[in-house]
């Protein structure tokens, strides 16, 4: 009985994997069909990344520290920000198309399939255009962190899982708000703008803003805490609190999503 359930679960994961492969393949084909646009987007992303990096390096010539962090540490914060920001962009780009599905009623077609509608929505447009820069950021990060201890690496891996949970939870919440209010675009862009506050450690903000970025929209937990763990600045209690908050946040996101589905009116379908 247990074996059969296990095999069923494996089979289920395989279906999701094949679904993602197919949908990602289609997205890749569409990117190739508009090659010029794709190249311009990729070059633009590189420019944006290097311009801010350049700005940080310019600071290095003039100042010693910013809120206690050296400019080299600020660069690591910026790299970690890019790493997790792009992870969300690569896998959950589909959220940007979700409003159209809601207002047109096409979301119905997602609901009737034997697959999680959330999975279908969020993974529908895997963004390969972020992949080149994503790889570069990993290389830069690995280089700048080449001499850290095993404990710090283990902490970073754990917080990477936490960051992914939180990014997923926020995208679920945006989708849920989309179902309830039909507003998605601005909600996700407000999250993106708040995320930009994580390009630098949240310690630079006032207590009120920092509290908001920790407990309301957990930008601090997604971007700042994982970077801090690389410098050995996060103790075990703080790590535990981060994991618990992420768990609560994820649970709340799923509750909100389930509630949102009861409010879906299938307008225009």
């Amino acid at each position: 009985m247990e074996d059969k359930r296990f095999l069923n679960q494996i089979q289920r994961w395989r279906v999701y994997w094949l679904y993602w492969l197919k949908s990602a393949g289609l997205t890749f084909q569409s990117l190739m069909a508009t090659r010029f646009a794709s190249v311009v987007f990729v070059v633009g992303k590189f420019f944006r990344f290097f311009f801010f990096l350049w700005f940080l390096l310019l600071l290095k010539e003039r100042i010693q520290t910013v809120v206690g962090y050296s400019v080299e540490q600020l660069v690591v914060f910026y790299l970690v920000f890019n790493l997790f920001d792009m992870l969300g962009q690569i896998f959950y780009r589909g959220i940007y198309w979700f409003r159209n599905e809601i207002v047109s009623g096409n979301f119905d077609f997602k609901l009737i399939k034997p697959l999680s509608p959330l999975f279908q929505i969020m993974t529908s447009h895997t963004d390969f255009l972020d992949v080149p820069l994503f790889i570069l950021v990993i290389v830069f990060l690995a280089y700048s962190m080449r001499s850290i201890s095993f404990i710090e690496i283990a902490g970073f891996v754990l917080l990477t899982v936490v960051a992914l949970m939180l990014i997923t939870a926020i995208h679920i919440m945006v989708a849920a708000i989309g179902v309830i209010t039909t507003e998605v675009d601005h909600t996700i862009w407000i999250f993106r703008d708040l995320s930009m506050m994580g390009r630098v450690p949240v310690d630079i903000y006032t207590d009120l803003v920092r509290g908001f970025l920790t407990f309301v929209v957990p930008v601090a937990l997604i971007f700042t805490v994982p970077a801090k763990v690389l410098f050995g600045l996060v103790n075990f209690q703080a790590l535990l609190v981060t994991v618990v908050i992420a768990g609560i946040f994820y649970w709340l996101a799923l509750r909100l999503w389930r509630y949102a589905l009861t409010q879906y009116s299938s307008a225009s379908s």
Binding site: G44, D193, M196, I204
Partner: protein, 268 residues
């Protein structure tokens, strides 16, 4: 009579802004978040230092908050939709009407700018009230007049520049011209001086960037506002703006004429 129809367009666009209230409010929230991000970064930098190159804290905080106002005056635009109209063939609707397409969009832009200016005054007021940054305010009426003149010219220059970017859609209608627009946004974010004053860049880079149109969108108007330019340097900025406005207007005219020839009204 000629102006009356464009005044009507401005009025309609103004009213249109109040119809999509939530949309507009969300946009303003995003603008404030972006401004605060840069503000706090510079505030943190000035925690441990009295000056950064030739800027003291008051000058830098004024500059950064000033970019929030300038972004509203110069960059607020509805004409960003021109690319979509070209790509989707909606431009045909205007070609058949007795309206000047540029004047039509400029009228719409004016309404958008006025609405945004109204909000940004309140937002900056709240930021100053709550965060109490040290600020430099010009007192000389000549300086204020020069700042207003440079800002208005910068607004006109950006309008023409933005139209040129949209005109690219005649040849590359993919994604409604958004890729090029995205690329230009990325460049302007840094080259217009929104994140930092351009003169903190290495002298070689600055001496090149100071000559290009993006420097006139934010950097120069704020230099005037801060009183960092002499009278004749101010005159030089006005001359530079007029030069770029004429040059880009001529280029836009040529590009637009060629664009109309290749325009095929896809999707109609």
């Amino acid at each position: 009579m000629m102006l009356a129809k464009y005044w009507q367009v401005t009025k309609t666009s103004w009213e249109n802004g109040f119809v999509y209230r939530l949309n507009f409010l969300m946009w303003r929230v995003r603008s404030v978040i972006r401004l605060l991000t840069v503000y706090f970064l510079w505030a943190a930098i000035f925690q441990r230092t009295d000056g950064f190159l030739s800027y003291d804290k008051a000058a830098m905080m004024t500059y950064i908050l000033g970019t929030g106002v300038l972004a509203t005056i110069v960059f607020s635009t509805r004409s960003i939709d021109v690319g979509t109209e070209i790509a989707e063939g909606d431009l045909s609707n205007y070609l058949l009407k007795p309206v000047n397409y540029f004047a039509y969009w400029f009228s719409r832009d004016l309404a958008d700018k006025l609405l945004n200016i109204l909000f940004v005054i309140g937002e900056i007021g709240l930021i100053i009230f709550f965060l109490r940054p040290p600020l430099i305010m010009p007192t000389a009426s000549g300086l204020i007049a020069m700042f207003l003149l440079v800002s208005i010219l910068a607004l006109v220059l950006y309008f023409i520049f933005s139209f040129l970017v949209s005109a690219f859609t005649f040849w590359y209608p993919e994604h409604n011209g958004w890729p090029i627009r995205f690329f230009v946004f990325v460049l302007l974010e840094f080259l217009a001086g929104g994140l930092f004053p351009l003169d903190i860049l290495p002298p070689v880079v600055f001496s090149l960037l100071r000559l290009l149109p993006p420097a006139y969108f934010m950097y120069y108007p704020l230099q005037v506002f801060l009183g960092r330019l002499s009278f004749w340097e101010g005159v030089g900025v006005v001359s530079g703006l007029i030069f770029w406005i004429f040059l880009l207007a001529i280029v836009l005219n040529l590009v637009w004429r060629r664009g109309i020839k290749v325009y095929e009204a896809y999707g109609r």
